[in-house]
């Protein structure tokens, strides 16, 4: 029973973090613009985050080290600190986008002023993170986010063209759309590969006291959690492709994204999607705020962990509270959360190699890992994805500029 509950860690990371505002925005827009054509980017991105997360979980279970502990050890203070600052900036942008996203969903449900809702969301998350244990956060948001599975039902109900979907799993290039296609391909891979998810996952493994006997649990968690993420991500893109593409609608608002499920299934599906979004994006608020605090604490060697009472890890507690405050201040200025999301996703892929490389090096280090060191498959995939995210990091800014953030 305990093991089954522990799998919830992966489910939350997949639903509460994986399917967050960035995924909803990029997947829906890509589906509306290109139909199924970019399904390959979903698969490539999800396999990549699975490879990265599995290595992080294995390193955490074997050595008790989380990501920014490894960044500091492998890169030293100065280079590691640059990586920390860049990583924290992206986590903060993501957090701001997620807070704004929760407020947007609440606005659809309650019709209250946006700024009031943003402040209420921030207060609610401060209280929740202060009072709730790691396990409770994991279960509440993880299982609440499962309501988004209604997108899977919607996609099946729309009768997708399976042949075309199958063909789209092979990487291709849309010559007619050029840079815009490239922007969404990089955006989808980046949205699938958001680094905060792995910061949270690896720290969560240590929160839950993983050790060598939990290596199998780590694999199961990654396969189940990320498998669910893949299913949902594909369903969101297919729904958008079937509903919005024929009418030429570009879903630039979360409310429009939710309508994708209402069209085939009716009003109850719309309510379910909005509830799912509330929990999934809310889960990402919790994950990003905590991930920001985990990173700082691990880099400087502070006591950290939700398993401690707030006064037992006070600087860690203050760090997530400050992250929450700063994220709120960004989004309460009135900046569009969807715009913040797009910047957060694009910049996340730029900083990704900094936190990816130390994990790959340590996972290959037998003095750290013993017999849990990377096998040939993990190594091939690990180095392939380092090359891929490096190329994506180099291409991200030029594509952002060339396409005016995907506008073509």
């Amino acid at each position: 029973m305990k093991k089954a509950l522990q799998v919830a860690l992966g489910i939350m990371a997949a639903v509460g973090g994986f399917i967050e505002i960035g995924d909803l925005v990029f997947l829906s827009q890509a589906g509306a613009l290109f139909g199924y054509q970019l399904l390959w980017a979903v698969v490539l991105g999800i396999l990549g985050i699975g490879v990265y997360a599995e290595m992080c979980g294995r390193v955490a279970a074997t050595s008790g080290r989380a990501v920014f502990d490894l960044v500091r050890q492998r890169f030293g203070f100065a280079t590691g600190a640059v990586g920390l600052l860049a990583g924290e900036l992206v986590v903060l942008l993501t957090l701001a986008a997620e807070i704004g996203g929760v407020a947007l969903v609440l606005q659809l449900l309650l019709d209250l002023p946006a700024r009031l809702l943003i402040v209420l969301v921030a207060i609610a998350f401060f209280v929740a993170l202060w009072a709730m244990s790691f396990e409770l956060i994991e279960r509440v948001f993880g299982f609440g986010g499962l309501a988004l599975l209604v997108f899977v039902v919607a996609a099946l109900n729309l009768g997708p063209d399976w042949g075309s979907a199958g063909e789209s799993l092979v990487p291709s290039w849309d010559l007619g759309s050029g840079a815009q296609y490239g922007y969404f391909a990089v955006g989808i891979i980046a949205a699938m590969f958001m680094p905060y998810e792995v910061y949270f996952y690896s720290s969560g493994g240590i929160e839950e006291g993983w050790s060598r006997p939990d290596l199998r649990l780590n694999k199961v968690t990654v396969v189940v959690g990320w498998g669910l993420g893949a299913l949902l991500a594909a369903a969101i893109m297919i729904t958008a492709a079937e509903v919005f593409r024929p009418t030429g609608v570009e879903p630039e608002l979360l409310g429009t994204v939710a309508l994708g499920a209402e069209v085939p299934l009716g009003g109850a599906a719309l309510v379910l999607v909005l509830i799912g979004m509330l929990f999934a994006i809310g889960g990402a608020v919790a994950e990003t705020a905590l991930a920001g605090a985990y990173n700082i604490a691990q880099f400087f060697g502070w006591e950290w962990g939700k398993y401690r009472r707030p006064r037992g890890a006070p600087r860690f507690t203050m760090a997530w509270a400050v992250m929450l405050l700063l994220g709120t201040l960004i989004v309460v200025t009135g900046v569009n959360p969807i715009t913040v999301t797009e910047f957060a996703v694009v910049f996340s892929v730029i900083v990704l190699p900094i936190s990816y490389l130390p994990v790959l090096l340590v996972a290959n280090d037998r003095t750290y890992m013993g017999d849990a060191v990377n096998g040939p498959l993990a190594n091939v995939l690990g180095w392939f994805y380092l090359a891929l995210i490096t190329v994506a990091a180099i291409a991200a800014i030029p594509l952002l500029i060339a396409t005016n953030m995907g506008q073509g």
């Binding site: 008790g64 030293g76 203070f77 590691g80 060697g301 006591e303 707030p310 006064r311 037992g312």
Partner: protein, 119 residues
């Protein structure tokens, strides 16, 4: 010359590693080593240095200087090597952090948040 490789190994084994006190609490990182010895003679590590003074020591550039300014309220501690209990992926110490002058920032932080209900 025979001591040189040993010194390099020691630096690799302890620099930037997590410090954990005798109560099992994380209490900082090994930011530097105090080395005793004359040029050309044998060198010996006498203490682990943990805290912002070590960041601004010149070898970490502007980022070290900036972070040392941000955390200037934190104390810098020198932990004698004889208080090391074990060296591994983390450095375990024989005494509580407070007795070694480590993690004062945690105590100040705890004082700050203690008045909040549920702390």
């Amino acid at each position: 010359m025979a001591d040189e490789p040993e010194l390099i190994d020691l630096a690799f084994m302890v620099l930037d590693r997590q410090l954990v006190d005798s109560d099992g609490r994380r209490c900082g990182k090994v930011d530097d080593l105090d080395i005793d010895g004359e040029p050309g003679g044998p060198a010996k590590a006498v203490a682990l240095v943990s805290g912002p003074e070590a960041w601004r020591a010149g070898k970490h550039g502007p980022i070290g200087w900036l972070l040392a300014r941000v955390f200037s309220g934190d104390d810098t501690a020198r932990v004698h090597v004889e208080t090391i209990d074990s060296l591994g992926v983390e450095v375990r110490l024989k005494l509580p952090a407070a007795a070694l002058g480590l993690a004062h920032g945690e105590d100040r932080g705890a004082d700050f948040i203690r008045p909040i209900p549920g702390s």
